[in-house]
Symmetry: C3
Subunit: 361 residues, 3 copies
């Protein structure tokens, strides 16, 4: 194998967060005896990543394992995405998500065609998404798209023949963000990857937000429902009477996990092991900001050892005075994003055999 | 030759359109006995590509041949643009054209400096194009520019010492688009590349649009006039009394091809072998949309075997219900864009010797 | 050493200005007996470049020497920034500066994550610069930032753990521009790099502008004060009573260089060896344009042999009719920008050992 040792590159050597919990990827790898579920990853080859329903507990864990291997530095890579071009088509601007994907592509030695703001650069002036998909067929090998319309995936897929990665479709889903959220949880507590997680390690999950209209929250809940052995209860905290939304109704009914909906965060906060918060303002101009009573700060009655997740960017719903505390898992969560996206891209583009340490091929 | 076999890269392996006619590049190559006119390509070395008058039938065919070789996958390349930086300077936004050029550069292992929207990113705030040209001298090796002002080429050329590729100058020209149009025609019917095309293969060309004010149409006609052995007649269909414009008057007079101008598309449609359509709305804010009677759909009285060309993006002047028909050559046309631009870039940057299969050097 | 000979790349071979003085980098290298002060460069390894006070005469000269080596083509490089990602985060748009940095990164075989316009792409919508810095930790290896707020450096540095290069912070500083200005002066007259410059080579420096509110001017003066052996006098020409500003008061007091402030450029113009001009309009919307009496053209009473510096972009404060004259050092100055930034990046990212001709390692 003509390898380029990752140790030579400080890219991975110091890729850790500045504050809050610092999670070692080794813990997860050791918990799995360094065996990565390559078969589960191979099922993604050539596939589009559109909706969290495409995953199951096994593939979520496998993606996290490969992300951990990549983050661990203990890996040799032979330019995994050499000769591949990824198109980042952001019709709804999001520098954070775009740069995260582009960094993942570049670190795997792929190339990037970037559309930082499809709405203003004229790409969509009157042109149909179907025609744009036809165009992308000959420009690149994989398309990473964010778009404000929930129906965008069907539209572009009319002609697109390349794998499509959904980086957020309107009020639909944001599947790779949910994978990132779960990577953070699995690094934090590797026992959660088991179907029979020890009872004392199982978590009570609190979610401040509205999965029905917030795609990142919705995708996170969708994956959480795949971990009945690890999640003992989900509490949705929302000011709305029905925050769940149609898309989750059936998965919730079919899951063995108890789900309750309450209005007052104070009521349940001291019981939660994991608190997931999102920033409404970032979901679109028509959304309100989170009400003041749902905001968390260092004075909030968080359980000892409880951790906060936030997909970022944040406004003031999670105070900066929490950054230096043990509750801050959101910085570690953000620090894992590039590795999870590398894991997804190497799998989708079928280049796992260029990454050593993945076991038999 | 230290080669990187293109077969390893799916970039070229499946770079075909989803619908309509799928054109094999092999047909053109075989028709030419796989002999590519390398001498014609070498005349482009170090040259700017500003105006279609720089080409002739021989060089148009040679560029198409190299594009076909690149599209055929039966080629080995030694990083043709290694160490070269292309600047894509789009003072008028066009994601389609910009990405097409950038994809071409990246596939030849060149690098890109991208200015997605020069009008809003401050590059042109008060600064002269001459000064911008001076700046580009030290930033890159070739400049690919689109600009709303027709005079932009003279302005930037005051100081620019690098080859300049005109990707659309106001109501001027768009020479590489015309090369792409002709690549589609030559793949579709290779006999058209001959000066003595068999009579039954010669085409009656219909053009719906106004070459005088539409640069893509103007450039296409300019190249068409270089193929008197292949084009038996050109019919311009326009609502204007004089759609031709000054720039084409002399070439039309000097050409052996008959050119007629009519107002009613229905009158001539059943006789046309090739129908070229453009979308007025994309040419600038002050242009009108095409009148409804000029629109084509699956019910239009197209001749059997007739093909439609459109430089895209389209609005509704070519209905999506034509996409699945044999008349749809516009998707194949779009699919050839990246290969034609690779062909031009490798020639201009004088790196033909890094592409195998081009005959003696 | 697995080298890629730069001679193969026309990037450096013709990287010279089209008009005005053409400066050979060899003169500076020969003046220093081709000995580059590697120790001075090594002090920059891992450092952020925020303020000109971080430099001294020795390091300014060393950076210029390495820039000259890179510009001279007489150098072999082993992909100095291989595996490194630079993030160009421009919250205040500046295509000139952004492309210059990106070109420098690409020429050293690094990779780029580009944020062409942070203000409009949503990166800053409500998100703190501290959170953005945290994000950048895991996305890249060095951050190059321009921002309209003078306090931005402190803000982003709260969490950022990667070297930060200040590409302009509000009315603060623009240190790499000042290095570029001095690179031009040292190429023009290599004797200026000495602490004991021969008297007849010492220069009277005139500066048309307001260092107190113009960051490029301020940074240039700050470096000039480090060259008391070369600069015999600085004359500030401004319509303001106190153009100096707080940041420069102490350095001026401590410097051995005489500094005078006058209002009328005509009074001193015939005595100046170097005239530094800036374009106020480019500093922000709230700044006025330079008054007509401060404008220079071919009719201005410039001393024979005097040279004009301008960080560009310019409006009309330096007339284009000066471009063809010997006074035009500003085009040569601009042509050196990419080499100086390469010099800084290779030093900061500690990859000097991948550039041959730098002496012992």
């Amino acid at each position: 194998m003509n390898t380029s040792n990752q140790e030579a590159s400080p890219l991975t050597s110091a890729a850790t967060n500045s504050k809050g919990q610092r999670l070692s990827p080794s813990a997860l790898l050791e918990y799995c005896d360094h065996k990565i579920d390559r078969e589960a990853l191979k099922t993604l080859a050539g596939q589009s990543i559109l909706h969290p329903r495409q995953f199951n507990r096994r593939s979520v864990v496998a993606i996290a394992q490969l992300a951990a291997l990549l983050e661990s530095r203990n890996v040799e890579m032979d330019k995994p995405l050499d000769g591949k071009i990824a198109i980042t088509a952001f019709f709804e601007a999001s520098t954070r998500t775009r740069l995260s994907f582009e960094s993942a592509v570049l670190r795997l030695d792929g190339k990037v065609l970037s559309v930082p703001d499809g709405q203003v650069t004229g790409i969509a002036k009157g042109e149909s998404l179907a025609d744009i998909g036809e165009m992308f067929n000959t420009y690149g090998d994989v398309v990473i798209m964010r778009h404000p319309d929930t129906n965008c995936l069907d539209e572009i897929s009319k002609n697109l023949q390349r794998p499509l990665i959904n980086a957020g479709n309107g009020s639909g889903h944001h599947p790779t963000q949910a994978l990132i959220d779960w990577y953070a949880l699995l690094k934090w507590r590797p026992e959660l990857c088991r179907s029979d997680c020890p009872p004392e390690k199982r978590v009570h999950l609190g979610i401040i937000g509205t999965p029905g209209s917030m795609r990142a929250v919705k995708s996170f809940v969708r994956l959480a429902l795949m971990f009945p052995g690890a999640v003992k209860k989900i509490t949705l905290i929302s000011e709305l009477a029905d925050p769940v939304g149609l898309d989750l109704t059936e998965p919730i009914e079919e899951s063995a996990i108890e789900l309750e909906i309450i209005n007052d965060v104070q009521e349940v906060l001291p019981e939660l092991d994991v608190v997931y918060v999102n920033s409404i303002a970032f979901l679109g101009d028509s959304y309100r900001k989170l009400d003041a009573r749902y905001k968390l700060d260092a004075g909030s009655r968080l359980k000892s050892g409880a951790v906060i997740l936030h997909p970022l960017a944040r406004n003031d719903e999670v105070s900066e005075n929490l950054d230096e505390t043990e509750h801050n898992l959101y910085f570690a969560q953000a620090a894992g994003a590039v590795f999870v996206r590398q894991s997804v891209l190497a799998s989708v583009l079928d280049r796992l055999d260029r990454i050593s340490g993945l076991g038999e091929s």
